[in-house]
Symmetry: C2
DNA sequence: CGAGCTTTTGAGCCGAATCAATTATCGTGG
DNA sequence: CCACGATAATTGATTCGGCTCAAAAGCTCG
């Protein structure tokens, strides 16, 4: 169980030096300028760890909103199910990401969030978060930043869907995913995708077959290597060119 | 000048009973449970009215972030300009909408926002908003709700782009626009679009010609009437079916 | 080891982009 | 006020990318 490819996010290899080893949430709040007493208060009030098995829903669309979640380990997929069709994937959540903000507006979650592998989250009631946000400026700032960052990511995806072709979207998707993994402390020339081709296709507004072909083309051009869900980036700058983004300066 | 079609949003026809006649922002805060003293404080601290001429930018991508804006009258278009290409439209803002939340994450605006017609906004510095949010719970709730609603709208668009064909996207776009106008107090079987076909196309991930053809088809099927930018909905339920959304119950 | 899923690969078709040309509208200056 | 150029919108013909349908091969897990 612990040796499945997907457990790579929880790797204990020190070369990866994961910053979230002891629980993402603690780290989220660890460096935003709270003193020991405040930090203790935050932890007591709002951290409720929870284990989520692969395939299990964190919440469903329409369900009454009460909690925000921070991903500690594993990964999740958010999406909505239209009245006729099947799931439309709207995003993927990795350790350090937060989900549930969509529920604030109407006090009901607008999407569903499902674990792609056995995962752990910190659950925090919105009321506690709101209270702490009023009392501790760094906490307020953190949550506003998390929501704002989500807005920016969404609009980036929007632009991507509007302006890139199939293969370019896949390139952009991979780049973004690797970038996010790097932010989380992985060296990230190679990783194991937690999501299926079908999930990727849905997220990118494509069909499974098209995504598969895009992977095949990227491999043929020697921009990546990929066997199943394991992917290695061979030529990042070419991928950036294809995705029409500036090469991030390391 | 005052009789251009675009001035319809500022119509003084009492039949439209626009709720924002005396300034959107005052109304935004008018009914969220503040007493007179608090309301006065809010107004003094954060309301800075500003007139924006057609074509003028409210802010640019990369510009230092300091203000949030509420649209009082007129309309705006948000978008980003990729390094090579031209503007990608990411949204349209109508009276009552707020823009600028994308700047919180990095303290720089992530997009640009341009007036589609002569418009008025209320500018409020983020610092004041943050302070008031800490001190007045209704203010905190309002801003969190505005940001959350934006997240929900974005993910709806994402799903739409991923799952609908060209004509269906145009149907969904028109329905959403009319719905938003109704929320703002317009009877909304007919209205004048503030944006061009090109803007709509960019927003929907299509080309101008395709949008034009979609309009032609919708007209041929008698679902709408449209001459230039003026549009009338003839068969809302058929439009909803085409856009694959449930008919909103009135 | 076999059932069911995921992924890959192929052939043909359809929808939207592209290229191109015309018409309509807006803004401007004569 | 009208004529003009510029921009926006429409319409047609053609091309091409991604979808559809179909089938086979690879994994995963009981």
């Amino acid at each position: 169980m612990n040796s499945t490819p997907h457990s790579s996010y929880e790797s204990s290899d020190p070369a990866f030096s994961p910053p979230f080893k002891r629980g993402v949430s603690a780290d989220i709040f660890g460096s935003i300028g709270l003193n020991a007493g405040e930090l203790d208060r935050v932890q007591k009030l709002i951290f409720v760890p929870r284990s989520i098995k692969k395939g299990q829903l964190l919440f469903q669309a329409g369900q009454k909103f009460s909690e925000i979640f921070a991903v500690r380990s594993g990964s999740f997929r958010s999406g909505v199910v239209p009245h006729d069709g099947d799931l439309n994937v709207t995003g993927f959540q990795l350790p350090g990401d937060m989900v549930g903000f969509d529920g604030i507006a109407t006090m009901r979650y607008a999407c569903e969030v499902q674990a792609l592998e056995d995962s752990e989250v910190s659950a925090m009631t919105f009321e506690h978060v709101a209270t702490l946000s009023r009392e501790l400026r760094p906490v307020q700032r953190l949550f506003l930043q998390m929501m704002s960052a989500q807005l920016v990511r969404d609009s980036e995806v929007l632009v991507m869907l509007g302006s890139l072709k199939a293969e370019e979207r896949v390139a952009a998707f991979l780049l973004k995913l690797f970038e996010r993994m790097e932010t989380r402390g992985f060296s990230a020339t190679e990783l194991v995708l937690p999501m299926s081709r079908h999930d990727i296709a849905s997220y990118l507004g494509l069909k499974t077959e098209t995504v598969s072909r895009a992977f095949a083309d990227l491999i043929a051009r020697r921009l990546i290597e990929a066997h199943q869900r394991s992917v290695t980036v061979l030529n990042r700058s070419a991928l950036c060119a294809m995705a029409k983004v500036a090469l991030p300066q390391d």
